[in-house]
Structure formats: structure tokens, C-alpha cells
């Protein structure tokens, strides 16, 4: 898994910084160069990671259902009513409900017992906000991976259009990759997200053909669309897959328990 060294880009190397939040590990990778080359140095990577970490921690404090004192927990217990909740809580609720309508219920912000659960959208939202912050900081080339959901900008090689490449894990053997997908650079998509039927923390409630796929990967222009659609397709099966492929500019790779796969053209070998 080492990068192949390219003589043309010998001056810039990829560097990564990671931290733990939301029960998983978040990593930021950037090409790092000597300052005189005009590329971000290692200090900039550390500073950028600190900004991303701050943002994730703030959102986790508000939205985590694992923290009894979080606003989300108060809502779940009924100690707080939605109209009295913070603006960002209501915004995420509205966004999640919009996705519920657009996916015909395959994605939903409520558990079957009626408890509000925005965890299906909060991580994607955190990644999206982090990406906005990184761009605001002037960082053009980076790759942000939060527990397997990825958003990139630019290229691993500054000043070039070569996209980043994301591997997709084999659900039967997480030490191997099934395929790769280009992100950023000259690729149409900058985000990729994968949902599994047995994953931790993500509450995926099946409707209709649910259970058909053990793992669904979706690439899209933005991380929230990729994340929500991956979750929705795990819940809604082939019907939701076709709906997503027809209605959104996405690439989908869906894997069944027997290992057979369905893929939109974006994931088909050219």
C-alpha cells in the first residue's frame, strides 16, 4: 500500500494525520512539500487537521447518542422538544427528512421506535463542513477519510489533474480491496461512502428489498449524497439502487451476501 514514487513529484510527498472521534478514526492526507516550493508544509497539515478535529468534536458533542448529556440524547429522551432545539439540530433534522422523502423512506432519521436518530447524516455533514473549512483555509489538495467515508479536493500531486484513488473494501475480507474509484482531479465525483448491513452505529432499517446487499458503495459529487444513498440502498435493495442511479449523478457498487455484485457504469471496467 505504499505510494509509488513518481520522479516528477518527488518534491511532494503525501502525509497523513489522524484522530479519533464519533467512534471511529478520521484521517486527513495532504501532499506536503518544502515551503519554498509554495506547497503546504507539514505544519499546515497539522493546523488543518486541528481545524477538522475541532469541528468533528463540536458536532459529536451535540449529536452523539452515546453521550447522555448531548442535545441529541435530550431529544431522544423527550427532555427537549424539536421546536426548542438548536438551529443546527433542526437544520439536520430538516435535511434528513428531505432525504427521507427523496428516497421514499429508505433513508429515515427516525428509528422504528420513533426515537430521533440523526447519526445517519451527521458524519456526512461533519465531513462536508470540514471540507468547506479546508477550502476556506486555502488548502486545495487533500483527502479526508472518516471511518471509510471519503471526501477529496484536488489531486495527490499538486498542479496536476490526476485524481485521488479510493479503494473499496471487500466485505468478505476487509484486508483486500475489490476495486478502486477515482475522486477529485478530473473525475466527476469528489466523495465516496460505503454502508454495510452489519456495521456499527449506523442504524439501517430495512424496507422492501432490504437485506439484499451486504455492502453498498456510492460515489457522488458531495459526501452527504454519497453517504445517504449508500445507506438508503442497503435499506431499499435493488429498487432503491435503480432509483438512485436514475435520479442522481452517482456511481454505485452493491455487493450481495453471496459475493455477486451490481455496478453502474462508473464502476464497470472501461
Amino acid at each position: 500500500m505504499q505510494q509509488t514514487s513518481d520522479p516528477q513529484t518527488a518534491t511532494s510527498t503525501l502525509k497523513a494525520r489522524t484522530f479519533q472521534c464519533m467512534g471511529t478514526v478520521i484521517g486527513l492526507t495532504m501532499p506536503v512539500d518544502s515551503p519554498e516550493e509554495g506547497q503546504p508544509g507539514f505544519d499546515e497539515l497539522c493546523a488543518a487537521t486541528a481545524v477538522v478535529e475541532r469541528l468533528f468534536r463540536d458536532l459529536d458533542e451535540t449529536f452523539s447518542l452515546y453521550r447522555p448529556d448531548s442535545e441529541a440524547s435530550k431529544l431522544a429522551r423527550g427532555d427537549l422538544k424539536l421546536p426548542q432545539a438548536s438551529a443546527q439540530m433542526r437544520e439536520r433534522y430538516a435535511e434528513a427528512h428531505e432525504w427521507r422523502l427523496r428516497t421514499e423512506g429508505a433513508f429515515t432519521p427516525e428509528r422504528p421506535d420513533g426515537v430521533l436518530d440523526l447519526s445517519g447524516i451527521v458524519k456526512g455533514h461533519a465531513i462536508r463542513e470540514a471540507g468547506t473549512s479546508l477550502l476556506a483555509l486555502g488548502r486545495r489538495d487533500w483527502c479526508l477519510n472518516a471511518g471509510g467515508d471519503v471526501l477529496v479536493s484536488g489531486s495527490p500531486h499538486p498542479e496536476r489533474t490526476q485524481p485521488w484513488k479510493a479503494g473499496v473494501v471487500d466485505p468478505a475480507d476487509r484486508r483486500t480491496l475489490i476495486t478502486g474509484y477515482p475522486l477529485g482531479g478530473n473525475s466527476r465525483h469528489a466523495a465516496i461512502a460505503t454502508s454495510g448491513s452489519a456495521e456499527r452505529g449506523e442504524h439501517i432499517w430495512r424496507v422492501g428489498n432490504g437485506g439484499e446487499f451486504v455492502q453498498v458503495t456510492v460515489a457522488a459529487a458531495d459526501i452527504v449524497t454519497a453517504d445517504v444513498q449508500a445507506t438508503a440502498i442497503v435499506a431499499g435493495g435493488t429498487r432503491m439502487l435503480n432509483r438512485a442511479a436514475d435520479g442522481w449523478d452517482v456511481a454505485v457498487l452493491a455487493i450481495r451476501a453471496d459475493g455477486s455484485m451490481l455496478a453502474t457504469p462508473g464502476f464497470q471496467p472501461s
Binding site: M1, G147, S195, P269
Partner: protein, 181 residues
């Protein structure tokens, strides 16, 4: 599955072309409506030249194969002959107008035999980058053996179902991150 999707896209485009054909018949006065199928069949071809003589444009290429009938009908420049001819002889392949879709420009080709459409194909066009345009986003079976090993080589990041902090330690992503620390 893929073919079905392609045909669906082609038919959708043919539907769009139908509008062009309708205006075409009004302008050029060509009325070859024999049966519903052949009506759709002549759609693309007559539609191309509807706006009168001199407007060959892309429709100049429309003639292509088929070419059974006499393409003399006034006003329909370059359009593949079929238009004026009778049903029985309206055999061949015809290309329609290029239509802008969400997936880029799409052109439909139909094959007519014995007055019936026997095949509808969406021609794969290229955009300005010279890259092939994808006209249907439908999912199709993907064989593991078809996925090139090269496609999963040299990745900079890994997408998978959310893993716990503990599981991360033994993950591929951890190995990649470690290499870049």
C-alpha cells in the same frame, strides 16, 4: 440488464425526437404515418431536416446505411431517404437528431425492416474532452474477475463500511495512514 437500460434511454430520446418529427411533418408536408411503429421509425430521419432546405448540419450524416428509399423529399435535407417511401420498402438504419440529455449529447439509431422497428440503439457519442459519454446509469452485474487488479492498486485511501476505532488498527486504511505519517 444493461441492454434494457440502453434501449430505455434510446426510446426516451426517440420520444424527444418525436416532437421534432411532428413539427417536421407540418413544415415539410411529409406524411408517412402508416402505422404507429413506422411513424416512430421515420421520426428521427424526417425530423432532422424539418426546417427546410439548406439546413443540413448534423443531419447530413443521417443517411448512413439503410438508404433504401429515394431521399428526394424537399425540405428534408440529408435525411436518410426513407421518409417518402412506402412502408414495405422503408428498411434500413436511420439516425436521429442529436439531443442534449443529462448524460451529454445522445443520438438514436433505429433499424427498420418490413415497416417495423427491429432495433433501437443509442449511439455512443463523445464530448469535447473526447471522452465517451455514458448514456445510462443503470446497474448491471459485475463479475469479480472483470474488475482489473490494477483498479485496486496504488490507492491513497480506502472506503468501507464504518469501522470502530479498534478495528481501524488492523485496517488497510491504517496501513496507508502509517505509511504517510
Amino acid at each position: 440488464m444493461k441492454i434494457r437500460g440502453t434501449v430505455a434511454a434510446a426510446l426516451a430520446s426517440a420520444g424527444i425526437l418525436l416532437a421534432g418529427w411532428q413539427t417536421g411533418t407540418q413544415a415539410g408536408g411529409i406524411s408517412t404515418v402508416a402505422s404507429s411503429t413506422t411513424a416512430a421509425g421515420t421520426t428521427g430521419s424526417t425530423g432532422t431536416g424539418s426546417s427546410g432546405p439548406g439546413t443540413s448540419g448534423s443531419s447530413g450524416t443521417a443517411g448512413t446505411s439503410g438508404a433504401a428509399g429515394p431521399s428526394s423529399s424537399s425540405g428534408t435535407s440529408g435525411s436518410s431517404g426513407s421518409s417518402g417511401s412506402s412502408n414495405s420498402s422503408a428498411a434500413g438504419t436511420y439516425k436521429g437528431n442529436t439531443v442534449q440529455t443529462r448524460f451529454g449529447p445522445v443520438q438514436v439509431q433505429i433499424t427498420v425492416a418490413n415497416g417495423k422497428i427491429t432495433d433501437v440503439t443509442a449511439l455512443q457519442l463523445t464530448n469535447t474532452d473526447g471522452k465517451s459519454i455514458q448514456i445510462s446509469n443503470r446497474a448491471a452485474p459485475l463479475l469479480r474477475s472483470k474488475v482489473l487488479a490494477a483498479q485496486s492498486a496504488n490507492v491513497q485511501t480506502v472506503s468501507g463500511a464504518t469501522i470502530t476505532s479498534d478495528a481501524y488498527l488492523t485496517s488497510l486504511q491504517a496501513a496507508i495512514d502509517a505509511a504517510n505519517l
